[in-house]
């Protein structure tokens, strides 16, 4: 199996995700970038799982998928809340508190 290629794919996805979180100003885009990182984790776990021939990585990936869903559910609810109160989801505008 070409597990190294999968690990490279994981690393590239991780970098794209981190770049997205740091550079994007739209809350939904940031959420999507975080999803990219979580999926790079899943790819990593599955690739290692195949390489080691153990199921631990597969189980871990299942937990990551389930909990990522819960996280995004909360995140989208919060973005919606902000949209209702402010009519914008640009993260730069969130500056009520400073110091």
């Amino acid at each position: 199996m070409l597990t190294t290629q999968f690990l490279l794919l994981g690393a590239v996805l991780f970098c794209i995700g981190v770049y997205g979180v740091l550079a994007r100003k739209n809350a939904v885009m940031v959420l999507m970038s975080i999803e990219l990182i979580l999926n790079s984790v899943n790819i990593n776990l599955l690739a290692f799982s195949v390489r080691h021939g153990s199921v631990d990585g597969n189980t871990f990936a299942l937990y990551v998928i389930a909990i990522a869903a819960a996280e995004v559910g909360v995140g989208l609810a919060m973005v919606l809340l902000i949209y209702r109160n402010r009519r914008t989801i640009a993260l730069d505008d969130l500056s009520e508190m400073k110091g």
């Binding site: 984790v41 290692f48 809340l81 009520e96």
Partner: protein, 505 residues
């Protein structure tokens, strides 16, 4: 492929020690119970959910106590993936009592604000359940699951006041940075699994030597994993969420996040370092050293210029986090492992007591002042002498003045660092000492406000403090004073023989 792997594994159902997981079972049952009770009570009787939550927290404390007095010292479940030992029990008790105090703090606040009481207490319980699980987790998967279980309700609690822009902002900032940090931590964990072929921490501890072919990947994996928890304990430079979230969130939630959530982060950090990376101190010692040094310094310097008391407490809790990190930064040197562990446990217990107490007083006082500005606390002693004295006690304890609890906590931290010795240890001790002096600056400025200044706009009517807040203050004040006067009472919770024999090693 998967089928063939699964077929090789002989499956037998694990034997479960129900006594060991009784606290978690009670909490899980309590969560369901409160959801149900909330459904069937009318709007005027929602206070029942608050009382029930308190009872569930105390009820879960009962099995913790019976486990503590039972003959079996270490109960290991699921092949050592979930361990109930003295360390876990001490911290479980801490989380449950802190949770109970937060319920006491919340009662009037949530009731008067009309903030969806049933849901509030359900989430609070879920978060405490996650912390209680975190204390026992000895596996990457269970650490991750309990971390999310304690964080996700926290995100929602921070954004609890739906129509308040500040609360929204507090929630989203906490959420985005929290999820980002846990995603990076997960990437580190996936690499840890990759280089060691196990998710069990004790296996990882044996494999991870940071030498040879995969040394670089191992170092990267350790750093990424620690970053996730550095965020949770709001260590600089991962602290930027803390002041905004603390200021915007409802005050009882702030108290909860700054004490329980932070303690849970430290518990995970300690388990990872002691069980997961005992041979890799060359990687995490410098990392934590830098974190501890800049966390103390930056937290303190920024606290000096705050005018809002909650923001000031946020920065003060960041700098206290630096003091808790301080002994961990030298935990791998020589014999320092034992004292460092003891000092972290002791500091967490004392810090929980004094910081919760501080928030209790702030909540009680701001019922009349209606403001978080430090200047609005002027003359507090003249019209509410009780609150004034209590606030002085907690401030003095946070600053580390003997004979209060904070002093013994700082003392154990410094002792652990000096015992490790070496240039790094002494340098860190000096940075810590300078910082404890700086801390007097901002704690003292509040004291001056309370004792010397006149009340702003002549508001001097007596403060009425609800009984639940008084109960919270009694618990925290007693703990703060007793730990200071009788240090033995708290030091034995961090007894080295018990704790270092722990972790199933």
């Amino acid at each position: 492929m998967l089928h063939s792997i699964l077929a090789q594994i002989p499956w037998k159902s694990p034997s479960v020690d129900y006594h060991a997981i009784a606290p978690e079972i009670i909490l899980a049952g309590g969560i369901c119970l409160i959801i149900l009770v909330d459904l069937f009570t009318s709007e005027t009787k929602k206070w029942i959910t608050a009382s029930l939550t308190g009872f569930v927290m105390l009820g879960a404390l009962v099995p913790v106590l019976t486990l503590a007095v039972s003959d079996i010292n270490v109960r290991s479940l699921f092949d050592g993936r979930y361990v109930v030992d003295e360390f876990a029990l001490t911290l479980k008790a801490l989380f449950l009592i802190a949770g109970y105090v937060v319920v006491l703090l919340s009662q009037n606040h949530v009731e008067e604000g009309d903030y969806y009481q049933g849901e509030y207490y359900t989430l609070l319980l879920a978060s405490v359940a996650g912390m209680v699980m975190m204390a026992s987790s000895r596996d990457l998967v269970s650490i991750f699951v309990s971390l999310e279980m304690l964080s996700i309700p926290g995100y929602m609690l921070a954004a609890w006041r739906k129509r308040d822009r500040k609360s929204n902002e507090a929630g989203i900032k906490y959420y985005l940075l929290g999820v980002f940090a846990s995603a990076i931590m997960l990437y580190g964990m996936s690499l840890l699994y990759g280089v060691t072929n196990s998710t069990l921490l004790s296996d990882i501890g044996r494999e991870l030597t940071v030498k040879g072919q995969f040394g670089g990947v191992q170092a990267l994996a350790i750093t990424f994993t620690l970053v996730g928890f550095a965020f949770k304990v709001s260590a600089v430079p991962f602290h930027s969420w803390a002041p905004d979230t603390y200021e915007g969130a409802p005050l009882p939630v702030t108290a909860f996040l700054s004490v329980a959530s932070k303690a849970a982060g430290f518990v995970a950090l300690v388990t990872l370092i002691y069980v997961g990376f005992p041979q890799a101190q060359d990687v995490w010692q410098p990392f934590l050293w830098v974190l501890a040094a800049i966390t103390m310094t930056v937290g303190n310097l920024l606290a000096l210029r705050q005018t809002n008391i909650v923001r000031m407490l946020a920065y003060s809790s960041i700098s206290q986090g630096g003091f808790i990190l301080m002994p961990l930064a030298v935990a791998g040197t020589g014999d320092a492992a034992g004292p460092a562990l003891q000092s972290v446990v002791v500091y967490l217990i004392v810090y929980a007591a004094m910081n919760l107490g501080m928030f209790a007083v702030v909540i009680a006082a701001s019922r009349t002042t209606r403001s978080g500005e430090i200047s609005s606390f002027g003359g507090l002693f003249s019209y509410a002498p009780g609150l004034g004295v209590l606030m002085t006690i907690f401030l003095a304890s946070l600053a580390g003045i003997p004979p209060l609890g904070g002093w013994i906590a700082k003392f154990t931290a410094f002792r652990a660092v000096l015992e490790a010795g070496g240039n790094w240890g002494y340098a860190l001790a000096i940075i810590g000492a300078v910082n404890s002096v700086i801390a007097f600056g901002y704690y003292g400025s509040i004291m001056r406000e309370i004792w010397m200044r006149p009340a702003p706009n002549g508001e001097t009517s007596a403060v009425k403090t609800p009984s639940s807040l008084i109960a919270a203050m009694v618990i925290t004040t007693t703990a703060t004073i007793v730990f200071g006067v009788l240090p033995g009472a708290v030091l034995r919770f961090g007894d080295l023989a018990d704790l270092t024999g722990a972790f199933g090693r």
